[in-house]
Amino acid sequence: MTIEEIKQIIELANESGVAEIEVERGGNRVRIRRAAASNQEYVIPSVPSYAVAPQLAPPPMPEATQTAVTADPSLYLVKSPIVGTFYSSPSPGAPAFVKVGDSVKAGQVLCIIESMKLMNEIESEIAGTIVAMLVESGKPVEYGEAIFSIRPA
C-alpha cells in the first residue's frame, strides 16, 4: 500500500464521516480512526453533559471488535432508542443475552438499556449473526448510538 493510497483512505474516511475504517491489501493493513471528529458529536455546548458519561469520546470497544464494524454498509446497526445505561446481561454475573458470533432471530432480546430504573429490553429487528458489541456493559449510551452490528442472515 502506498502513501498516496493511505491518503485516499483518510480522505474517504473524512468524506463519509465514518468513525473508523480498516483496509487490508496485499498483506498490508491500515486502520484510520477519526477520534477528533467523533468527539465533536458528543460535545453539546451550554447543555449539561450526562453525569454517567463524563468522557467525551465514545466508549472504547473491546479489542476483538475494533474492526471498523460501524463502517461496513453490509452490516445492520442496532441503535439505542433512548438515553440510558447499557447492560449485556439480565443481571450482574448472569450470562450475556448474546455474544459475538451468535445467530439471532428477529424479536430476540439483545440487551437491556436502563433509563430511570425503567429496563428496556432491546430486541433484534432482523435475523443474522452478531458481529460486534459496540458498547461495554454498564456504560452509558446516547440516543441513536450504535450498540450492536449484525450481519443479516
Binding site: 449539561p48 450526562y50 453525569a51 438515553v83 445505561t85 450482574p92 436502563e114 430511570m116 430504573k117 429496563m119
Partner: protein
C-alpha cells in the same frame, strides 16, 4: 393478616387480578401474561415472593402476609413521556399510601419511597412485549427486618404504630396508577415532573452522592430536566444530568 381478594374484586369488578399465595416473582408472571397479550391494567399480586426481583438483579425481601407485592401491565403509549413514566408510578404509590394509611413518604429519585430516610417501597419497570410492567413492593405490616436491612428498610406499621389492610392499599394503588396514566395520556409528562418536584426532597437543594459502578459523583441537586432526569450541580459549578444510579444524601 389474611388477604381478602373478594373485597378488591368488589371495588374493581372489571379488573383482571391474578392473586397467588406464594410465587417466585410477580414480575415473572406479569411478563408471561404480557407476552400472551393480556389486557392493560392486569395486575399480579402475591402474598409471598420467594424470588422477589429488585433493580438489575437485586432481590426484594418479600415476607409472607406482610407486604404488598404487585406487578401491573400497562399498555398505554407513553411515547413522549418515556422514561418519565417511572416517576409517575412512584407518585401513584405515594398517593396510595397517603389515602390508605395517612403516612406521607418522601420520594428518592427516581422512585424509591422513604420514611425517615429508610425505604418502605421500591419500584421497578420493565419494557417488554410492547408493554410496561410496573413492579411495586411495599413494606406494610413488617414489625422488623433482618439485620442486614435494619438500617435501610422500614414499614408503614413501624412508621404509624399500627397494622393496615393490604386490600385497601392495593385498591388505592391501582386507582392512583389509573389517574396518573390518564394524566400522562392527556397532558404529557410535564405535570408529573412538577408534582414529583413538590413531593420529593431530593429534587433540589440536597447534597447527594451518586454511585454508578466504580465512579461516584457529588453535588447539590438542581431540579429535573424536561425528560425527568435529575440535574446535579457539582462543586466546580458544572451541571450534569444523572441518568441512573443510586442517589444518596452526602454528609
Amino acid at each position: 393478616m389474611g388477604f381478602d381478594l373478594g373485597e378488591v374484586r368488589r371495588r374493581m369488578p372489571s379488573r383482571a387480578l391474578h392473586w397467588h399465595r406464594r410465587m417466585d416473582s410477580t414480575m415473572t408472571e406479569a411478563s408471561r401474561l404480557a407476552a400472551e397479550g393480556c389486557a392493560s391494567g392486569t395486575a399480579v399480586i402475591a402474598d409471598e415472593q420467594t424470588a422477589g426481583i429488585g433493580r438489575h438483579g437485586h432481590s426484594w425481601h418479600s415476607e409472607a402476609g406482610l407486604g404488598l407485592y404487585v406487578s401491573v401491565v400497562l399498555r398505554q403509549k407513553f411515547v413522549d413521556s418515556f422514561p418519565g413514566v417511572t416517576l409517575a408510578v412512584g407518585l401513584a404509590a405515594r398517593e396510595a399510601i397517603v389515602e390508605a394509611t395517612g403516612v406521607v413518604c418522601d420520594l428518592r429519585w427516581p422512585n424509591d419511597l422513604l420514611i425517615g430516610g429508610r425505604k418502605c417501597a421500591g419500584i421497578l419497570l420493565n419494557l417488554e412485549s410492547k408493554a410496561i410492567i410496573a413492579g411495586i413492593g411495599i413494606n406494610v405490616n413488617h414489625g422488623g427486618f433482618p439485620e442486614q436491612l435494619r438500617e435501610l428498610a422500614t414499614s408503614l406499621r413501624i412508621a404509624a404504630g399500627r397494622e393496615f389492610r393490604r386490600e385497601h392499599l392495593l385498591v388505592e394503588l391501582l386507582l392512583a396508577m389509573e389517574r396518573y396514566t390518564k394524566l400522562i395520556e392527556e397532558e404529557g409528562i410535564k405535570p408529573v415532573l412538577r408534582l414529583f418536584a413538590q413531593a420529593s426532597s431530593y429534587v433540589s437543594g440536597m447534597r447527594v452522592r451518586v454511585e454508578q459502578g466504580e465512579t461516584a459523583l457529588e453535588g447539590v441537586t438542581a431540579g429535573l430536566d424536561e425528560s425527568g432526569f435529575l440535574l446535579l450541580r457539582q462543586d466546580n459549578g458544572k451541571l450534569v444530568t444523572v441518568l441512573a444510579g443510586g442517589v444518596r444524601p452526602a454528609s
